[in-house]
């Protein structure tokens, strides 16, 4: 059989083409500022350039790589450009890319400890490191009753937290009998949409989602939360779950976690804290105060794939009571049974999230932490915050503009005083220029420009130039 032609790439070919892709990526980063940040592709443009049928016979790797340049690249919005100030970032770095490459090369599937012990143990170990690095309470570490796991995203983390809370609130009956329609979930009006999605997915029903109002800084109001919980109890409902946010997506607002947490403790509610982007800041002692109150939390997540130079996907999810999570998500068919699992001495991460299979994602996180060291990570986070705070001053110094929210860290929300239509046009023009990419939100029903500084390679010159572009484009629009 082996004499039949194999179409596999040989190790020698892999060395050759692997180098070609590595060089392609290095070239890409050297030239990345030359591309329009937001892709200018038209809907359907890429599809129109691709053959309608797959190739019958294999093609040369050179031909594929050529198409990456000519067909794919124009359809890329450059998330890794230092001029990317949109959304929350998904910042990558060279060590993370190499960790992802190694993970792809090893190709292990870590659903069970036994299916690659290193995949499980490195993850547990690095998440314990992370817990210390960002100052989480000891209960979230694996030597206590809790522990950490890598999820695909903060959406996945929120869903798992909702499910464990649902089970706990029903005496571990909701998996069996379904959701009662009487469990209530609390967020603020600024909470990420993934929690609403999770409420729907997990069968709570969005009618049972209470959107609590926020204060003038866009932070959840614990007094309103407390009175809503009372109202729901009086109506015979079962308050179950609160999501507090450390750094909301719209404006980077920081909910009063300690106050909310004391209330949750008193009322027996599951407190999940979503620090998807801002959690990274707590690596620096001077920003660690954002994690005040976490001693009251049942679960917590932040995304190294947002602001810690680790390629998407890498959400670090911590629970204080891992037994609650595992009991909620555990499945053990015969074909997965093995001695290590039965010994009870190991973690099987398949019971910590929705999917069964899992990639070796801790490799890239380990590479990032070891390459930068804690001090190196702090250095870059501090630079981003410093750049954002400079940007705040520039906005304040230009009387045509105003800040729209406090900027505690690296996200600046601002607007031109000329109103929504003007700001909308301003964002469009800037994004069309290709020189930078930023996005908007609504705050107090006004169209607000968001400017987030967290891309790996963003330096002072990029922020200065962005502000110059914003001012000049505003000038031109004012005159038109």
């Amino acid at each position: 059989m082996s004499e039949k032609k194999s179409f596999h790439m040989s190790p020698e070919e892999f060395r050759k083409y692997g180098r070609a892709v590595v060089d392609w990526i290095a070239d890409y980063y050297e030239n990345i500022e030359s591309f329009p940040v937001l892709s200018r592709a038209e809907p359907g443009q890429l599809r129109a350039s691709l053959p309608s049928q797959p190739p019958v016979h294999g093609e040369a790797f050179e031909a594929i790589l050529k198409d990456v340049n000519t067909l794919i690249l124009p359809g890329i919005t450059h998330w890794q450009s230092p001029n990317f100030f949109a959304f929350f970032p998904a910042n990558a770095s060279c060590p993370a890319i190499l960790g992802e490459l190694l993970s792809a090369g090893l190709g292990v599937q870590g659903m069970l400890w036994a299916t690659s012990p290193a995949c499980t143990e490195l993850e547990t170990h690095v998440l314990d490191w992370m817990a210390d690095m960002i100052g989480l309470p000891g209960k979230f570490k694996s030597d206590s009753a809790g522990g950490g796991v890598i999820q695909d995203s903060a959406s996945g983390a929120a869903l798992c937290a909702l499910l464990a809370a649902r089970e706990r609130a029903t005496g571990y009956e909701s998996n069996r009998v379904g959701c009662t329609g009487r469990l209530v979930v609390y967020t603020s009006s600024q909470t990420h949409s993934s929690v609403e999605k999770g409420v729907k997915v997990a069968g709570f029903g969005s009618d049972n989602l209470r959107v609590i109002e926020v204060d003038e800084k866009f932070a959840l109001r614990p007094d309103v939360l407390a009175s809503q919980i009372r109202k729901d109890r009086d109506a015979g409902l079962i308050p179950c779950f609160v999501c507090a946010t450390v750094g909301t997506t719209s404006s980077n607002a920081i909910d009063p976690v300690a106050e909310i947490g004391r209330l949750c403790k008193q009322e027996g509610l599951w407190l999940h804290v979503d620090a998807a982007m801002s959690g990274t800041a707590a690596i620096c002692p001077e920003y660690r105060h954002i994690h005040e109150g976490l001693e009251f939390a049942d679960s917590y997540c932040f995304n190294p794939h947002k602001w810690m130079f680790t390629n998407f996907d890498c959400d670090c999810f911590f629970v204080a009571d891992r037994a609650a999570l595992i009991k909620t998500l555990s499945i053990l068919p015969e074909y997965l049974k093995n001695k290590a699992t039965e010994s009870g001495a190991v973690i099987d991460y398949r019971d910590w999230h929705i999917p069964l299979g899992r990639r070796f994602r801790s490799l890239k996180l380990w590479f990032v932490i070891r390459h930068y060291g804690v001090e190196g990570l702090r250095r870059h986070v501090r630079q981003h915050v410093e750049l954002a705070q400079n940007f705040v001053k520039w906005v304040q110094a230009d009387e045509r503009f105003e800040l729209a929210a406090p900027a505690p860290l690296n996200l600046v929300c601002f607007r031109h005083k000329a109103g929504d239509a003007f700001n909308q046009k301003l964002v469009e023009k800037l994004n069309q220029s290709g020189k930078l990419y930023l996005t908007h939100t609504l705050l107090k029903n006004q169209y607000i420009i968001r400017f987030c500084i967290a891309q790996t390679y963003t330096e002072e010159r990029h922020v200065r130039e962005a502000w110059r572009q914003i001012q000049e484009t505003a000038d031109a629009l004012e005159k038109s």
Copy 2:
């Protein structure tokens, strides 16, 4: 600011270390047969070798790579070894690894069409290719009312199918009011555990999961399904969802999809078809019959990350009515609004699955299809089936052994006639030898050995040697 020390890896360093990792992987594949397939690491072994605290200062990349060799490698179970016959595989290939590398390098996040048009359009295009390659009905293609999307796993696909079915069955009310506890889900006793997990997650309640018995070939019995549906209707419940499997995990049984499908159509139930491993076989016209009856299906999935040489994670999920899926999972906060979305001319894949963020996973699938071509893929799939059918003959020719189930494709279930304890010991000894890795299941309450031939580099010599090991180990055990 830029004069401050940056800890980022420079493009030149990335070229150097990128080559080192590429060479590491090439070396790994050249030597992979020298490692014990199942890791011999003890619980806690890796963790004991790692420092309890993360490094304060960054380390040299050489030091990290050295630790990969000395610390990580002993904790690897070698999924990419040609002697891996366990579970279902997660088979990778060089073009897929390079696609994953390129995706990591580009670092785009494709939640919206606008956040990288190429990420969305390549995915739609390649999934349309795949639909044709495996002979799916036209309704699953993007030019109809349906379409395909890449999910993390068949678990994710099953959950999304369950959710869309739940919404459809309740007139799109379950997202709002929660799950009623009256919707009923049907699987067979051989259905993958992910459906049971999905039933719990989505709030159906496992009390509302009916596990339908199977025939002597381990395929779901449509007559039993029909009578159970009647019983449930008579009890005032709402039959909602059926999962049929093309190639069950335990024994590769193929449910009678057409017969089940006609019943679902008649009864108004959502039919999901899980072909996670075996769907790939349909690339070959001679095996396409496994997809008979898909014209009745509402959703379908198969995993190129199992048997189509595409690195985990890559599950292709197709729906006949994309509007039902999108309506179920759609969320649109202000900060994600954009002109392309509003135009209605584009797909925003964030509404097609649980997470918001998404990697550029179609790149690796595109690389695989273009590198191998359809004929190249067929060649390797045919070889695996041929090797498995040879193995069947060897089992049948040794009177000590017997087949435990039909082997329609590339999974052989067999046992030594000496009973469960003997077979269990046989599997343990074989796995301890390090020369191969295989796993077990239960069929008709008997301990059965599974032998799955689907690893990228498995050739006839590996299968011959595995059978020799099995026979010799059985000899030794018989004598002991």
